[in-house]
């Protein structure tokens, strides 16, 4: 009986450890670098009730070898992702922010997405790089997310 109880407790401990290691069910691993093959993603804390804007800061950008890219910004819970906006890079050259004040920031209205995804859990910000011209694959383009946050109306 005792060894069976210990076995059960051990199994439970192992399972709990596994669950804790995996983290909350809705969290996604942060991948701040976007390439044409893979979107960047950041987990952001659940927004405050008054928050309607999504602010995103970019730490660095490398343009593609040819053509242009546009960055598509989405909010997601699990596989349910909704676009909140997109942008292109102007000026178009590469940049690297050496400190926070050099980062490029973008603000998007996220109210519609938040209404559908909910405000009671962390959300994932995804930034995907898409070719602006389908005839020119955007090889070599990268974007590094620095941070993201929700903000209320100024």
């Amino acid at each position: 009986m005792r060894s069976a109880a210990i076995t059960t407790m051990t199994r439970a401990a192992v399972l709990a450890t596994f669950v804790l290691a995996a983290g909350p069910i809705s969290a996604q691993p942060n991948m701040p670098v976007a390439t044409p093959e893979r979107a960047a993603s950041l987990t952001v804390a659940a927004p405050a009730p008054a928050a309607i804007f999504l602010d995103v800061w970019i730490k660095s950008y490398t343009p593609p070898e040819q053509g242009q890219v546009e960055a598509v910004v989405s909010l997601a819970v699990g596989d349910n992702a909704l676009e909140v906006g997109r942008f292109t890079f102007f000026p178009a050259g590469p940049f690297v922010a050496r400190e926070a004040r050099e980062e490029r920031g973008y603000r998007f209205d996220a109210s519609a997405a938040l209404a559908k995804l909910g405000r009671d859990k962390p959300l994932t910000i995804r930034v995907a790089l898409l070719a602006a011209d389908a005839a020119k694959p955007p090889r070599g383009a990268t974007l590094t997310l620095s941070r993201a946050a929700f903000s209320p109306r100024p």
Partner: protein, 491 residues
């Protein structure tokens, strides 16, 4: 400002229109037989979409650009120096973006005025929502057998089309719907705590207007437009003129700029230069507060407006059915179910076009009080008079009025942007109908004309008015409609 709804002015059950008609027409109000010309001062910046290749403004712009290109880069009026101003000073990604570019364009416009020899030169704007293709005037290497000064060979393509995802009507309606300046106009630089010049290019957050249409047009045109040296491309100035127009329109919708003094008192010093003398310049320094009223800067994007009280006062003083004002032939539209041919015959004058002039005569001649004169100078109305409309002997119709519609029919929606209002015949077709004098109607088409201009439809040469009779459900349809005359008066 109180406004009389145009439909109530016309219909209000018909009674208001007839009352107005009784006031203005049956009482024989007068139109001065001196052509009332409206001198637009400030100048009117117009859409390049509506300009022929040889439009005087485009010709002037070509001449100015060609001249600027010949000057050495050290000359502050030169093409290259002007481009370097942007390269060295332009703020992006913060709330200085809009006002800085407004001041920048203003000084540039002054230089163009000087070099073109056209004192009323007004920078055209490229309304990429109305026409997302690169304007033809900029896309050809040659013009009239000479190198085209507006051409830029560095563009990725001369047949560029801007994506509606970024500049389409739906996107623009979302942008206009934003009420906060620090979203519409981008945010303050992060951490700004003074008006020190060092904040001018500090990063804030780009709002959807700057990061969307603005940036996307730059990157889609490509070439010089991709970088901060973008003013080397002559389309840059028309692009930013549209940006400025959109800001002005956003304000006209009742959206307020920020009142924060970190913005309003911020100064742009030593960055812009107005032409002065034969070969010189003077510095144009300004705070942001100094560039918030475009009328005081000497330009506008829309027709000016009177308030209604002034309009009525002028109408009462000056309307005279016997003295036409700028009365030029009117073009008739077709109706689907009514024999419009009848309308064009009989008592009507031959089909005519109404010509719009934007010259204003001195208001002192109208003997207005100082207060009214000041109001009058700030606005004007375009009024349409439909005189001596003969009530149908049998039945009735609703007559819809359109402005510059290419092909209106009875099915054309009243939500169509060309729709200006309608009138009907009160009591027509009924035994108790008034068999007195034929009614006349007055219709304010200022809003329609203004909205069409905003949509990039040029009305500065001709305003065409179409009358489309439409059956009224439940009533017998009249077989013909006759009107005595149609006039447009501009005050």
């Amino acid at each position: 400002m109180s406004r009389i709804d145009r439909r109530s002015l016309l219909q209000g059950g018909g009674a208001l229109a007839l009352t107005a008609a009784a006031t203005t027409v049956h009482a024989q109000p007068k139109i001065s037989n001196k052509a009332i010309k409206v001198q637009l001062s400030p100048v009117l910046r117009r859409s390049v979409n509506t300009m022929a290749l040889n439009d005087p403004m485009l010709e002037a712009y070509r001449k100015a650009v060609a001249k600027m290109r010949t000057l050495p880069a050290t000359d502050k009026r030169s093409w290259e120096f002007q481009a370097q101003i942007h390269n060295n000073h332009c703020p992006h990604g913060n709330w200085f973006f809009l006002p800085w570019h407004r001041a920048y364009l203003l000084a540039f416009e002054h230089i163009c005025r000087e070099f073109s020899g056209k004192p009323d030169f007004a920078l055209p704007y490229w309304d990429w929502t109305g026409n997302p293709q690169l304007p033809a005037a900029f896309a050809t290497q040659d013009y009239n057998g000479q190198p085209n000064p507006l051409f830029d060979a560095n563009r990725s393509s001369q047949s560029v089309t801007i994506s509606p995802t970024y500049v389409g009507a739906m996107k623009m309606s979302q942008i206009y719907a934003e009420t906060s300046f620090e979203v519409f106009g981008s945010t303050r630089p992060s951490g700004q705590n003074s008006t020190a010049a060092s904040w001018q290019r500090a990063n804030g957050l780009k709002g959807p207007f700057e990061s969307g249409p603005h940036d996307h047009v730059h990157t889609t045109i490509n070439g010089d437009m991709m970088q901060l040296i973008s003013p080397r491309d002559p389309i840059f100035w028309l692009h930013h003129c549209n940006i400025d127009r959109i800001w002005d329109h956003w304000n006209s919708l009742g959206r307020a700029n920020t009142s924060d003094n970190l913005w309003r008192t911020f100064a742009f010093n030593g960055q812009f230069f107005n032409p002065s003398g034969a070969n010189g310049t003077t510095a144009y320094n300004t705070t942001i507060a100094g560039v918030l009223d475009i009328l005081s800067l000497g330009y506008r994007y829309t027709l000016p407006r009177f308030n209604v009280a002034v309009t009525v006062a002028l109408l009462n003083k000056f309307i005279n059915p016997g003295d036409p004002v700028e009365r030029i032939p009117l073009t008739w539209g077709a109706a689907a179910k009514i024999n419009v041919a009848t309308v064009a015959q009989g008592k009507l004058a031959p089909p005519q076009k109404i010509k719009f002039t934007n010259a204003i005569e001195s208001f002192q001649r109208l003997n207005l009080t100082a207060t009214v004169a000041k109001q009058a100078q700030a606005s004007s109305r375009i009024m349409l008079f439909i005189r001596n409309a003969e009530k149908p002997a049998e039945g009735n119709v609703d007559v819809r009025v359109f402005v510059n519609h290419p092909n209106p029919t009875a099915d054309t929606s009243v939500r169509d942007r060309h729709y200006a209002g309608s009138f009907t015949f009160f009591g027509a077709g009924h035994d108790h109908a008034d068999h007195g004098a034929n009614p006349s109607y007055m219709l304010d088409i200022t809003d329609t004309v203004s909205n069409l201009q905003i949509a990039g439809i040029d009305l500065t040469k001709d305003i065409n008015v179409q009358l489309v009779p439409v059956p009224i459900p439940g009533e017998k349809t009249a077989s013909e409609v006759k009107v005595g005359s149609i006039e447009v008066a501009i005050f």
